[in-house]
């Protein structure tokens, strides 16, 4: 099968319910396919590397996944270890920049050109230690001071503000380097990777069951999305599909995760403009959702409830009634609070025109999720590539055009409404039957998972080795794509608006730090 008129023969990955295709490419064809994808307006989904020196075509592999109308297209380039280079895609896919640097840090394959600064490596392991190479020994290294080359902004009156890694609030660690003139931000450069824990190396050698637990803890606030994406990939490997009832319950969990997180974000957005009333109100509703999760499904965040083959909990009629009743009260309360937010002049003054990302910029940077939809980008896997049950309940994509903090808040309000509708439809149409099919790992297989979490699309690439254990797992958080957006959104805004703008994206640090 050919895509984008490129001479690459794709084959469909069998098993599972998502559409994924793979192809091999040499150096030139890899770059040309990526360029063709860009020129036809498609998105880069992920870029990752692996050590395949024991494979039929031995070498260091670099894979890129693209979002095509037909589904997910994954192109693999295998390069010799002594000359491990791959085409630089960051010229047209800006989000590839940090992914390429991570590939260099972890597997030792470098882009030909582009930014070659380390990303996940903070000088705390040697530059010639590549943790994802199969012959990299288990090792501990001394910490070292990194002298990271931030881009300097020159000129009279320009000064730098360095923030982090530890921030003032209860938030994840990261470093922000602002170049400032007076109160206006001229430039922001992010330095992330502080939470890098070696997750991808940890995956290797795990059973598919253990891998699920790790996948669910890449970014804890999106544990349902990760567990589902991982399970999709594992099901392709095992050649099973989840029973219909399990698929519907998965979507119920995912929508409940979306509502809970959106509620929290709307609360904190109010708090960041000194309307703590909003925080208390929204967090109160969110807590009710977490408590019902605990009561019905056994965990406040529904961790480890989606597994390869199905789900581990069922929902009875009494549970359905509670879910429906909670949708009713939440809808009522959220509508009241939305009126308060819309009528509050101080809040609107801070929200409107703040942290603007134009639709052109969002498209150019390959934005995903809430942030993309608030900037006029109609991207939502639930509508673009619907798997069961989204092909039946048909989500309506929430969109705004302005791309400011207000737009990102409005998208969240609209998505809560839509998720409440979906939840009612899901429990209403819940098919009868079992909720789990046995899934046994198959050796030497690969699978892909791709799920629209509350923040954006979560992607998982999974491979098993000859022993049926995990050989390679690459989870790609949506925050990879959206962190560069924040650097642009803050330009010409004032420093005190940064926390608000940052919150309006609410990106994960743990997810992309891996």
């Amino acid at each position: 099968m050919l895509f984008l008129d490129q001479p690459l023969e794709f084959t469909r990955v069998e098993g599972g319910d998502a559409l994924a295709y793979t192809a091999r490419a040499d150096f030139e064809a890899f770059g040309e396919f990526a360029l063709a994808a860009y020129e036809s307006g498609r998105r880069l989904v992920a870029l990752w590397g692996g050590d395949e020196r024991d494979a039929e075509t031995p070498g260091i592999a670099v894979c890129a996944a693209f979002d095509l109308p037909e589904g997910l297209a994954c192109v693999k380039l295998v390069c010799p270890v002594e000359d491990a280079v791959f085409p630089d895609l960051s010229g047209f896919f800006p989000a590839a920049d940090r992914m390429q640097r991570a590939v260099r840090d972890l597997v030792g394959a470098a882009p030909r050109g582009g930014d070659l600064r380390p990303w996940l490596r903070h000088a705390n392991w040697p530059a010639d230690y590549f943790p994802l190479r199969s012959d990299a020994p288990e090792a501990r290294f001394d910490t070292a001071n990194e002298n990271y080359e931030f881009v300097r902004v020159g000129g009279d009156g320009v000064h730098e503000i360095a923030v982090g890694p530890i921030h003032a609030g209860i938030i994840e660690p990261g470093h922000f380097r602002f170049s400032v003139m007076g109160e206006s931000v001229l430039r922001l450069e992010e330095r992330l990777g502080w939470k890098h824990k070696g997750i991808e190396r940890r995956f290797s050698g795990m059973s598919l069951a253990d891998g699920l637990k790790l996948a669910g803890r890449v970014s804890g606030d999106s544990t349902v999305a990760y567990a589902w994406a991982y399970s999709q990939a594992a099901e392709m490997i095992c050649g099973v599909t989840a029973p219909p009832r399990a698929a519907w319950l998965r979507a119920l969990f995912l929508e409940r995760e979306r509502v809970a997180n959106h509620l929290g974000d709307l609360g904190y957005l109010g708090n960041d403009v000194a309307l703590s009333f909003g925080l208390m109100q929204f967090m109160r509703i969110k807590e009710d959702w977490l408590r019902l999760n605990a009561r019905l499904f056994g965990h406040r965040f529904m961790m480890d409830k989606i597994v390869p083959g199905g789900v581990t909990v069922d929902l009875d009629d009494a549970g359905v009634a509670e879910v429906v009743e909670q949708c009713r009260t939440t809808e009522r309360d959220v509508h009241r609070l939305k009126d308060v937010y819309e009528e509050h002049a101080g809040l609107q003054d801070r929200f409107l025109t703040t942290g603007r990302v134009t639709p052109e910029l969002a498209k150019r940077l390959g934005a995903v999720g809430v942030a993309a939809r608030a900037s006029g980008q109609c991207v939502d896997l639930r509508a673009d590539h619907p798997v069961s049950p989204y092909d039946r309940v048909k989500p309506v994509v929430a969109m705004e055009e302005r791309g400011d903090v207000a737009a990102r808040a409005l998208v969240r309000f609209a998505e809560i409404d839509e998720s409440l509708r979906l939840i009612r439809a899901l429990v209403d149409g819940l098919p009868q039957g079992g909720v789990w099919n046995a899934a046994r790992s198959e050796p030497g297989k690969r699978g892909f998972g791709w799920v629209e979490g509350w923040r954006g699309d979560v992607f998982v690439a999974l491979e098993t080795g000859a022993d049926g254990k995990i050989r390679r797992c690459h989870p790609r958080d949506p925050s990879w794509m959206n962190w560069p957006l924040l650097e642009h959104a803050i330009i010409d805004n004032i420093v005190p608006d940064f926390p608000l703008i940052n919150k309006s994206f609410n990106l994960s640090y743990a997810g992309p730090d891996l």
């Binding site: 990299a136 910490t143 502080w194 939470k195 890098h196 824990k197 070696g198 940890r202 109100q281 743990a510």
Partner: protein, 179 residues
């Protein structure tokens, strides 16, 4: 303004009469208040440090401030700087890249100080363990007074763990024993 007041009046005071609140939690809250009053003269300042968590623990720590748990009414305040803190609430295994920052935050905290390792990862390294990139449990990097297990620990467990820390004898590395 009217709609805000109406909504507040509509909700009432959730902290005092939440129907689904665990009676065990109310007891823990009162005991915690007494301990804080005794040891810290009614005020305990906590600096939260994420040393490499999956961010699940942070979600539950955020919940401590909401009307149902309302720890601020008990004299507990989350502070922006370790220099103002009595207690460091540390989540996650300590990522190698965070090791220096965590040690600096600990050094910046004035004596007497308490450290609470939070979540399974903070207690044991959890699913992430120790590796080229991960130092494992918090006590591998700084001295720990109390550990609160859980993935993530619920707000109730967090309150109980803080209670164990302020009520403890001050011996290092004692387990809170909450399971």
């Amino acid at each position: 303004m009217f709609s805000i007041l109406r909504q507040i009046l509509h909700d009432g005071v959730l902290t005092e009469a939440p129907p689904e609140i665990d009676p065990e939690l109310q007891a823990a809250k009162r005991r915690l208040s007494d301990e804080i009053a005794r040891r810290f003269r009614r005020s305990l300042f906590i600096r939260e440090i994420d040393a490499g968590s999956c961010n699940g623990c942070e979600l539950e720590i955020h919940a401590l401030g909401i009307p149902y748990y309302n720890v601020e009414a008990m004299g507990i305040k989350f502070t922006a700087s370790p220099r103002h803190a009595d207690l460091l609430l540390v989540t996650g295994p300590v990522a190698k890249n965070m090791e220096v920052a965590v040690k600096r935050a600990y050094d910046a905290t004035p004596e007497p100080k308490l450290v609470v390792a939070t979540g399974d990862c903070g207690c044991t390294g959890g699913i992430f363990g120790e590796s080229y990139a991960c130092c494992g449990r918090v006590s591998n990097v700084i001295p720990v007074d109390v550990s609160i297990p859980g993935c993530p620990p619920t707000p109730l467990r967090l309150i109980q763990g803080i209670l164990a820390a302020v009520g403890g004898s001050g011996d290092r590395d004692q387990e809170s024993g909450i399971r």
